[in-house]
């Protein structure tokens, strides 16, 4: 980014940032309908409050604040998360998210650090799109056991992810 660069129109702000914001939202909520709603909320909420021309740095910071607020509200309204519990540590890097690709990036690194069974269930589910029954069959366990392994694996993945942040 050129130091002192300015945004002079809404379209440039939107076109420069919409994909990055969407991808960040997707990485937080994991599904298209919610990612679309939250992305839309960020832009429709934040853009009309900006005065133009504005420095790029200021606009990015404004968008990051909107992302934090929209995400915090999402977790609070739909899952009862206390505001203090919302993970926002990386949101400051929101506009520098790298493309998600199988096995790379933060999620890939988390998977790589998991014990074999935990990694196996999450790969079967998230990378191969297996149902719980199919994943259970592949792993030679009952569907009930597969659900338990999956729950524990996700909690472990969360712990590893937290460790990466700190």
């Amino acid at each position: 980014m050129v130091e002192g660069a300015l945004y002079t129109d809404w379209e440039s702000i939107y076109q420069d940032n919409v994909v990055k914001v969407y991808r960040l939202m997707f990485s937080r909520v994991g599904n298209r309908p919610d990612a679309e709603d939250l992305t839309s909320e960020v832009f429709v909420k934040s853009l009309p409050n900006l005065s133009l021309p504005s420095p790029v740095v200021q606009v990015n910071s404004y968008i990051n604040v909107a992302i934090r607020s929209v995400l915090a509200d999402h977790w609070r309204r739909h899952y009862g998360a206390p505001l203090v519990d919302v993970e926002v540590d990386n949101i400051g890097q929101a506009l520098e998210v790298s493309p998600a690709t199988e096995g790379t990036g933060r999620a890939g690194r988390i998977l790589a650090l998991l014990p074999d069974r935990s990694r196996a269930i999450l790969e079967l589910r998230f990378l191969r799109g297996c149902s719980i029954k199919e994943a259970a069959r592949e792993m030679g366990v009952t569907p009930g056991n597969a659900k338990i392994i999956q729950y524990r694996a996700l909690r472990l993945a969360a712990e590893i992810g937290q460790g990466m942040l700190s």
């Binding site: 969407y22 519990d85 933060r106 992810g161």
Partner: protein, 71 residues
């Protein structure tokens, strides 16, 4: 009523199908699990690319809103 293991399994099912997940009051442990699941759901190639129609639709909405604020 489902237990945490069942709720998280259903949540993951929704993510894999790219559906809006069901909502529930989550315990702190469940919150950690659903956030980890959401992050992993973005690993499939192309999963996190926005739909072009969506991008155009939001831009049209912004134009309307901005036009109302700064006519």
């Amino acid at each position: 009523m489902r237990c945490p293991v069942g709720r998280i399994a259903a949540f993951v099912d929704d993510l894999i199908q790219n559906r809006r997940p069901r909502r529930f009051k989550a315990s702190p442990e469940e919150l950690h699990a659903i956030r980890a699941a959401a992050e992993l759901a973005g690993m499939r190639p192309g999963a996190d690319r926005p739909d072009r129609q969506f991008v155009e639709h939001v831009f049209a909405s912004i134009n309307i809103t901005v036009g109302r604020v700064f006519p």
